[in-house]
């Protein structure tokens, strides 16, 4: 996902047309205390490129600093202040298989307080060597990965809506909390990512349970209206999001987990971590489906979702079911957050940005239905990634949000929703 994104960024900026060509690229820019230029040298085939000399000079030609890329292919140089800088890489340091796609330098303008990403186009010789990927297939696979991730985070959102009627705008923060909890355990605590993820899921479930027991259940008892509850969830979302920014900061940082090279599967390439992300999502979603179909609590969830009063009068403990839904939703959102952090790095507002795509997925599938959330999210994920075939990469989310509005015009109840729900 990251590689592909970088590839597309370079396609767009440097105008490389060859399929399978790699790029030297960078994380998106973000604010930090001082000005910095930074980037990552990697291509889809060679993986990160280590030991390439990167020289940064001012526009007048005075050298600022000279660094080498680390084993992740990353480099960063602090610059003395805002202004124009020239970044040059030493082409002789590149591995034999990798060549420059264009010039060996780029001129960038650094704004005050910004960390400016620098993109230098690289080619890894896959052009004409027969190992090229078909871009549409590549995007489809990537879209499926992204869609499954959205689905996992969105199942909880949809079930919470189904069982309580609450449109939970704070659900994105559950995603962020999961990703950040795993980041602290993984990077600060030095625990490897898999146990860190499990800890994050426990944290997610706990946060879900706390918000149900501490906030939403008392509010339901008070008879708070649905719109009031919705605005309260927005307040909660703001509170959590900016608390996270204060604690974690505005930076974006990766997990301590090997990047690995992309493996060629003929029509598409996939890094092992993306493959793992797809497999984990599928396994978890199948487990959720089996639970909803087969187990007592799963059936109870669907019953409460379908008709709360009827479920209550059949002897189902509605409050207990809702608590389980919150815990499950929190854990799944946390897992989704970790997977998102794995592909896109961990950021304080990652969950909020995903929330809008979750809404798109859930609305497309039908608000309140668990399977609808799954189908809808998959479609949204694939749509968002595939849309980069025609629209630039940095506006691909806009495509997803546009899809949401189109759905509302054509079929507001969603694919699996029932007409009665939309009132």
């Amino acid at each position: 996902m990251l590689l592909l994104r970088l590839f597309l960024v370079a396609l767009f900026t440097a105008g490389i047309a060859a399929l399978g060509a790699g790029t030297a690229s960078a994380q998106p820019e973000e604010t930090g205390p001082t000005e910095q230029v930074l980037g990552t040298l990697q291509t889809s085939r060679s993986g990160p490129i280590e030991g390439v000399q990167v020289t940064v000079t001012t526009a007048d030609g005075d050298e600022v600093d000279e660094v080498e890329t680390d084993e992740e292919g990353r480099w960063a140089v602090e610059v003395p202040g805002p202004g124009q800088y020239v970044v040059t890489i030493d082409a002789d340091d590149l591995p034999d298989t990798v060549e420059l796609a264009g010039e060996d330098n780029r001129t960038v303008t650094v704004d005050e307080g910004r960390r400016q990403a620098v993109i230098i186009g690289l080619e890894d010789g896959s052009r004409g060597s027969g190992g090229g990927t078909v871009r549409a297939v590549q995007l489809l696979v990537d879209g499926i990965r992204f869609g499954l991730l959205i689905a996992m985070a969105a199942v909880g959102l949809s079930l919470i809506f189904g069982t309580t009627g609450l449109t939970n705008f704070a659900h994105g923060e559950l995603v962020t909390i999961g990703a950040i909890a795993a980041w602290y355990v993984n990077v600060q605590g030095g625990v490897s990512l898999i146990p860190a993820t499990i800890i994050a899921m426990v944290v997610g479930a706990a946060v879900g349970a706390i918000s149900e027991l501490g906030l939403w259940r008392p509010l339901r008892r008070r008879g708070t209206g649905l719109v009031a509850a919705l605005v309260i969830s927005i307040g909660l979302s703001l509170l959590l999001r900016y608390l996270i920014q204060i604690v974690y900061g505005g930076r974006s940082s990766p997990y301590d987990f090997p990047t690995g090279r992309a493996v060629d599967y003929g029509l598409f390439t996939l890094t092992n971590r993306s493959l793992a992300s797809i497999i984990i999502s599928i396994v978890v979603l199948v487990l959720v489906a089996v639970m909803l179909q087969r187990t007592k609590i799963g059936k109870a969830m669907r019953a409460v979702s379908d008709n709360r009063d009827l479920a209550a009068s059949s002897g189902i403990d509605v409050n207990r079911v809702i608590l389980v839904v919150w815990m499950m939703g929190g854990a799944l959102a946390a897992l989704g957050g970790v997977l998102l952090g794995l592909s896109d790095q961990v950021q304080w507002d990652m969950g909020f940005r995903l929330l809008l795509l979750m809404f798109a997925g859930v609305t497309l599938g039908g608000l309140g239905t668990a399977y609808g959330a799954l189908v809808g999210s998959l479609i949204v994920g694939v749509f968002v990634q595939m849309s980069t075939l025609v629209i630039p990469n940095d506006v691909k989310y806009v495509g997803g949000l546009l899809l949401l509005i189109v759905i509302l015009v054509i079929r507001p109840q969603g694919i699996l929703g029932s007409r009665a729900r939309i009132g």
Partner: protein, 332 residues
């Protein structure tokens, strides 16, 4: 003591400055939609963005006169309201909420994208479009004036004066409208949509009119903000600002003419006071740097607004002036 007085003065200035006007106009717009008609517009900031960029693009990029820019901004807001309302106003409230918040985020991403750079100048935004307007000021705009312990530039004063005139005029308009039959229909839609429909009123059209009117007010707010800061940058129009305006509205009292205006002033006063106060406490070492650094203070305002919104809706949904019976706040 001197520090405290200074903090109060700074907070007072921000409660009267163009930022308060910005939030007041956003909140007056939301009041029409949410307070009177019961519509959940969570994308009010998108209208402000269109207002601000309407002027900025028209003047800086197309070389049109300032007042044509104002018209462009207002027109863009009307078009957006129609586009948003068309699909969503027949559905339940939360669909409009989701669609509007998605639109606001989408528009911001679009305006800051690389492909939009030829028009909007991407993340850096546009500037130098308010010269014509500032030039209209009857006093010297480059001099500084001392008012209530703070200094204002002549330009700031002029923007604030015109801004408050707009707020007062829009307040009068809302007051008159809500006394009219149109306003009564709007309020009854909020109370019971089906009852209004059974009386032969076209609910859809009324809702659409409320959405458009609120959107125009939001665009005016965005214009005041853009002219006040002298620049239009897409990232100034973050989604969280919509909820600052909601907080202002609910604090003051929804479905009241003065509610959003007073709410915006109080909110800005509280936020600025907390901001200056916290910075002072950090500088003096009363709050240790490890707990909260001065760069974190900017985020505190959103934390405060989040807490404030929750507490208000749980304990006092009618705010300062509102009537509890009028803000039942239930989904339909």
């Amino acid at each position: 003591m001197g520090d405290l007085l200074n903090a109060l003065a700074v907070a007072g200035k921000s409660a009267l400055g163009f930022q308060a006007i910005f939030f007041a106009l956003l909140a007056v717009g939301i009041n029409v939609q949410f307070g009177y008609a019961g519509l959940l517009n969570f994308g009010q900031i998108a209208f402000a963005l269109l207002g601000g960029f309407g002027i900025a693009i028209s003047v800086s990029q197309w070389g049109l006169p300032f007042w044509v820019g104002v018209l462009v901004g207002l027109l863009a807001a009307v078009v957006l309201a129609l586009l948003l309302g068309l699909p969503t106003l027949r559905l339940r409230a939360d669909y409009l909420a989701i669609a509007t918040i998605a639109t606001a985020e989408g528009l911001r991403l679009l305006f800051r994208s690389v492909s939009a750079t030829p028009v909007t100048n991407g993340t850096r935004g546009l500037s130098a479009f308010n010269g014509d307007f500032i030039g209209l000021a009857p006093w010297a705009t480059n001099e500084r004036y001392r008012i209530l312990g703070t200094t204002w530039s002549g330009g700031e004063l002029w923007v604030a004066l015109v801004g408050w005139v707009i707020v007062v005029l829009s307040g009068l308009l809302i007051w008159a409208l809500m006394r009219s039959p149109w306003g009564r229909v709007l309020k009854s839609i909020r109370e019971d949509e089906d009852a209004v429909r059974s009386l032969g009123k076209n609910v859809y059209v009324y809702k659409m009119q409320a959405l458009v009117l609120g959107g125009i007010l939001g665009a005016l707010g965005g214009m005041v903000y853009a002219v006040g800061t002298g620049s239009a940058v897409p990232d100034q129009y973050q989604n969280a600002n919509t909820f600052l305006a909601y907080a202002a509205l609910i604090l003051g009292g929804a479905a009241r003419v003065l509610g959003p205006v007073v709410g915006a002033m109080i909110l800005l006063f509280i936020l600025q006071f907390a901001d200056t106060g916290l910075r002072l406490l950090i500088d003096n070492g009363i709050i240790p740097e490890g707990l909260l650094s001065s760069t974190d203070v900017a985020q505190i305002r959103f934390v405060l607004v989040g807490v404030g919104l929750m507490l208000l809706l749980i304990f006092r949904p009618q705010g300062i002036f509102g009537d509890r019976r009028e803000v039942m706040l239930d989904a339909r």
